[in-house]
Each structure stands twice: as C-alpha cells, then as structure tokens.
Amino acid sequence: MSAAMQSQKAFKAQLTKVYAFYTGGFFLFVAALAILEQMGMARQTMGYVFLVATILLYAGIGVMSRTNDASEYYVAGRRVPAMFNGMATGADWMSAASFIGMAGTLYLSGYNGLAFIMGWTGGYVLVALLLAPYLRKFGQFTIPDFLGARYGGHIPRFIGILIAILVSFTYVVAQIYGVGLITTRLTGVDFQVGVFLGLAGILVCSFLGGMKAVTWTQVAQYIILIIAYMIPVVWLSVKQTGIPVPQAVYGNQLEKVTALEQKLIDDPKEKEVRQIFRDRAAAATEALKDPAKAYTDGKARLEKDLADLKAANEDAGKVKAAEDALGRWPKDQAAATAQWTRDRAAAGRANPPARHGEAFAGKDEKARDIARRNFLALVFCLMVGTAALPHILMRYYTTPSVKEARSSVTWSLFFIFLLYFTAPALAVLVKFVMYNDVVGTAFTSLPAWAQAWAKVDPSLLSITDVNRDGIVQLAEIVIGGDIVVLATPEIAGLPYVVSGLVAAGGLAAALSTADGLLLTIANALSHDLYYKMIDPNAPTSRRVLLSKILLLVVAALAAYVASLKIADILFLVSAAFSLAAAGFFPALVLGVFWKRTTGIAASLGMLAGVGVTFWYMISTHPWLREVFFGTARSVAPDLWWDILPISAGVFGVPLGFLVIILVSLVTPAPSKETQDMVQNVRYPNLKAA
C-alpha cells in the first residue's frame, strides 16, 4: 500500500471520528435546549440560539478550512471520500424546496406530486451511468472546462458559462429567498434582515475556503437536516400507528385516508359548502362582466331591503341583519372588484377533494391523458435536469478517483433517498390528521396547533365557517403546503425545541444549496471566463482572490433580487431544471459517447436547446408572457401537445441532440487530439494498462 493511499485512509478515519463527535455534540445541544425549554426559556430566544449556533458552526468550519490553493479552493484537493462526498452532494442537492416544500406538494397534489420524488432521484441514474465517472477522469475544475477542452475554442466554453450562470442564478435566488423566510420564522426579524443574516453564514464559509470549506460544511448540514426531518415524522408515526418506521407502514394510513376521502366526497354538509363556493364564483363572474353596474345595483338593492324592512316595522333582529349585510358590502367599486376576483379565483374550492392515491385524476379521458403526459414530461425534465446541473456535476470532481466517483453517486442517492422516501409518508400522515382530527370538530374545540397556525399565518392555514354550522368542513380549510413540514412537530405533540430544530434543518438545506450554487457561478466567472479566456497567465493567487470577490458580488446581487420577493419563485426553480437539461445534457453526453461530435455542432445544439426551451417558456407561461410580450394573463396560451411551460425541456433536449448529431455529420471530424482525449476519458487509467 502506497503512502498516499495510507494517508487517504487515515484521513477518512479521522473524518468519520470528527463527524461522529459532531453528531453526538449536536444531539447534546438539542437535549440541552429541550431542558432549558422545560425551565422556561422563551421561544424567541430559542429561535435565536438555533440560528446563531448553526451559522457560527458553519462559519467555524469555513474558518478552519480557509485556503488559497487553487486545487483546494476549486475541488477540495480531490480527496473527499465517496461517502462524505455523497453526504455533501445530498445537502447540496436538497434545497429549501425539498426540505419544506416537497411534503406539502405531495399533500396538495397526491400522486401527481410524485413526479418530483421520481424526477429528483432518478436523475442520479443518468449522472452515474453517463457522466460522473467520465467527468472525474477528465479531472478539471468546472463544467465549462469540459466543454472547452472537448469542443475546442472559446465559443463552447462561453456558451457553457452563460448557461451555468443562467441556471445557477435563478436557483440561488430561490434559496436565498428560502433563507429569508426561515430566518424570519425562527426569530421574527424582518425578511430583509433575515436574508442578509443567512447570507453572512453562506459567505464566511465559501469565501474563506471555497469548495473545501463548502464540502465540509455541507456534510455537517446534511447531518442536521436529516435529523431534523426524521424526528417529527417518526414521532408522528408512533403516535398514529405505534410503529416508528413511517415509510413501511403508511400504506395502511393511505387506505384510511382513501376511505375518509370517499366519506368527505359524499357528505351533505361538505356538498353544501362546495355549493356556496360555486354560487359565489358564478355571481362574481356575472358581476365582473360589468362591475360598475353590479356595484351600484347591489348596493341599491341592499339599501332598498333595509328601507323596506324599516318601513314595514319588522323586528329589530331582521333590521340588524340587513344593516350588517349593507355594512359588509365593499366600500367602493375597486374593493368590490377585488372581492369578486377573489371569489371567482376560489371556484376551485367548489371541487370535491382529490383522491390522494389516484394517478392522473381528471373529469374525462382527455383531461386524464393530458395529466399523464404532463406528469411524465415533468419527470423527464427533472431527471435530465438533475444530470445537467453544474453545481451537482462539479461535486464529482472532488473525489480521489474514478472508482470513488462511481460509488460516490451511490452514496449521494442513498442519502437523498432517506429524505425523499420519507416525504410521501409524512404527507399521508398529516393528511390523516387533517381529515380525521380537524374535519368534523366544532370550531370551538379545534386542536391547539391548528388554532395557533391559523392565527400566525393565514396563508398557511385558514379555516372559516362558510356555512355557519359551527363544524369544520374540509372545504372550509385553505392550507399552504409548507405547513406540512413546519407544523408536524406540534401536530405530533412535540416540544417547541423540535420546531426550532426543523427550522434549523430547513436553514441548513437552503444554505448548503446556496453555497454550492454561488461557488459555481463565481468559478464560472473567475476560472472559465477570466483565467481561461481573458488572462491565461494569471497567477493562482489572483484567480482565487478574484473568485472570492465575485462570490461577494454575486451573493449581494442574488440577495437583492430575492428581497424583491418575485412571484412565481417555485416556477423559476423548476425552470432552471428544464434549461439546464436542454443546454448541457446533450453536449455533455455526446461529448463522451460519440467521438464524432464536433465543436460547432455542440455550440449550435446548446443554443438551440436552451433557445427553444426559453422561448416556449416565455411564450406560454402567463407571468413570463406578460413580462416579455405584454400579453394579458387571461389569454389562453398556445401549448404544444398540452405540455405545460414548466416542462419545456421536453422539447429542448431532443432538439439539442438532433442539432448536434446532424451538424456533426456535415462538419469535419474533430482532431486526433480531441479524439484521444475522449478515448482517455473513457478508461479510468489508460496508461497503466
């Protein structure tokens, strides 16, 4: 055994020990807080302790891993053992959307939400089989590096830089937004302050130590986020089923939920509430045709009713009711229009509850077929997008060998799998609580957690007695997806310390992803654009310094965009997947698997793929269409085969492949040098053979 291998082995043993201590220490920390809570520590204080302690921890790792060495800064010295790289990739991968949003999406959309579960795990099959080992063998620093070396010249590299920045930037904005939300929830500070607090945590770490610091923090963050996710779910499962393995037993709960759904669909009281919403929406649609007339007519009618009652000397109760009705009438036409628009938009609440386990629900064969098509298209885009996100692919440059890169993908998916196969279980368990414990109770005896959440944040949970019978009907509940994860500790009856832990886990998820993304952008600019294209003689120290400065600039810019609170931020995240898929995937895969692929073809293919994807999105997504073309949102988009804009990559990826293949065939074959490079990438060690 060589000295290098021995030192690598010692390094791994050392790491295992450090992180074992760390995990133990973290448990002690939580236990201490739990005791302090019993002794009367205020919730707010506990929030601050969690926030400050975890951010200091990440910053501390950053300080300990500070470096100015290029290899350490860009690829963590290429000595990250497979298992730890797997954990880091897991944290890098799982964003605030996975941690907080996923279970909520599953709660709200049942089977259809599984597109995210399958898409965001199945993509790793493509990473493992088609990319990771070859990129590791290639052994440079970034994805544009590969494009530049394989396809020659600056153009492919430059297109790669543009796509990497476009994709990573949209994604990082969403992460920083998530950081702001969680910090606000944890401590009650302002959203903007929250954004910059979180940002400080991200920066100390990636600024000082680049990939090296980010890797070791991400491992620490993975440990926190997985503990935070598991504790409440397991506890809830014990409470409901008596078995601490929710993933294995929630099939039974799903059966119960399905039975309850049938009951709720047929329940006369539920039907009554749904009818109220249907009538309101119909009246609102009618009123909105001529709001001015509807407003004055409606007001006149109420006034006449009141006057008639008074004239007829009716009893005080009836007069009072008529006065109230007049008092509730909007004070001006603008308020009335807003109210009607809301009523019309709430038409969906007139629909009976969807069946959780039913695939592609729809009112007729055609609707079901469209649902199926979009489900599969979304799965496709998320999978291919996973295999094309630069901040994930970059991680496989950091393992010591091709062999480790291969097993590292296995570890990555295993660690991601732990959370992803728990999320559907959590959604079903919470749905059971909702259908069984909340629906059907009197408004006066709502569970404490439901009361508390409805008071804190009506966008997450709001219950109004629409039909005034004093009993909660399912149709009277509006629920925001994020509550599923955030309120689980309280639903399960756990102390507040666990709620703090969950928020800290969400913070870890958002911070770790933001770290990886910021680094990707800064590296694309400093390494690819500056060093490789502008000044190839730049000394290492200047490159690393430049990267650090860019990191600050990009982070500040992203924080600024996030603080604007752009609507449709979730759409932007999913859009990043489609764009990455169409831009990178064909060029990367063909670059390894087809020696004949030429540089011109790859450049044109990347542009065509991204181009058509981007064009389809801006011409079909209501919000983007409004921004780019000024088309009113009410105009029905001209969809291709009924595919929604979120899955635009389903057109971009095949087009990318097609363009690359066709153009390659009519352009001269790549040089011998390039073909040798491809040959070299295909074998872990060609020289020793």
Partner: protein
C-alpha cells in the same frame, strides 16, 4: 499495455451494461408511469403505482447505481485499466 482490441471490448461491454441499466430505468420510470392508472391494484395498502412512484422506483434507482459501480470497478481490474496506487 492492453491491446486495442481489449480496450474496445471493455468499452463495448460498458456500453452494453449502460444500455441494459438505462432500459430498466426507462421501464420503471416511464412505462410504469404511463400505465399508472391501470396498475393501481392494492400492494400492502398502497395502490401499486403510488408505491412505485413513492418508494419502489427509488429503491431500483439506488440498486442500478450500486450495481453499475460494482460491475465497472470489477471490470476495470479485469481489463487492467484500474487506477494505480498513486491515485
């Protein structure tokens, strides 16, 4: 130095196993997904297609990647292209 023929054979075998595994991946994801409505018989309480989407396919993805890593690492040694100790 391994002969060119040997190296070609290595690459062909790599392509074959990659193709087979991608085939399994495709069936689990898209064929089962396409027939999700038809495959909704009860499977330990879950509708089968729901189970596949939530757990079954994930387990199979993990197994695919694990198997590929093992297979390729063994094949590297068989064809003498494994990484040396200096790595």
């Amino acid at each position: 130095m391994a002969s060119t023929a040997k190296l070609d054979e290595y690459w062909q075998r790599n392509l074959r196993i990659t193709g087979i595994l991608l085939g399994i991946w495709f069936i689990v994801t898209f064929v089962v997904g396409w027939f999700a409505r038809e495959l909704s018989f009860s499977f330990f309480g879950w509708p089968f297609s729901f189970y596949m989407g939530a757990q079954g396919s994930l387990v199979i993805y993990c197994l695919i990647i694990w198997f590929y890593a093992r297979y390729m690492n063994n094949m590297d040694i068989e064809y003498g292209v494994q990484e040396g100790e200096e790595e």
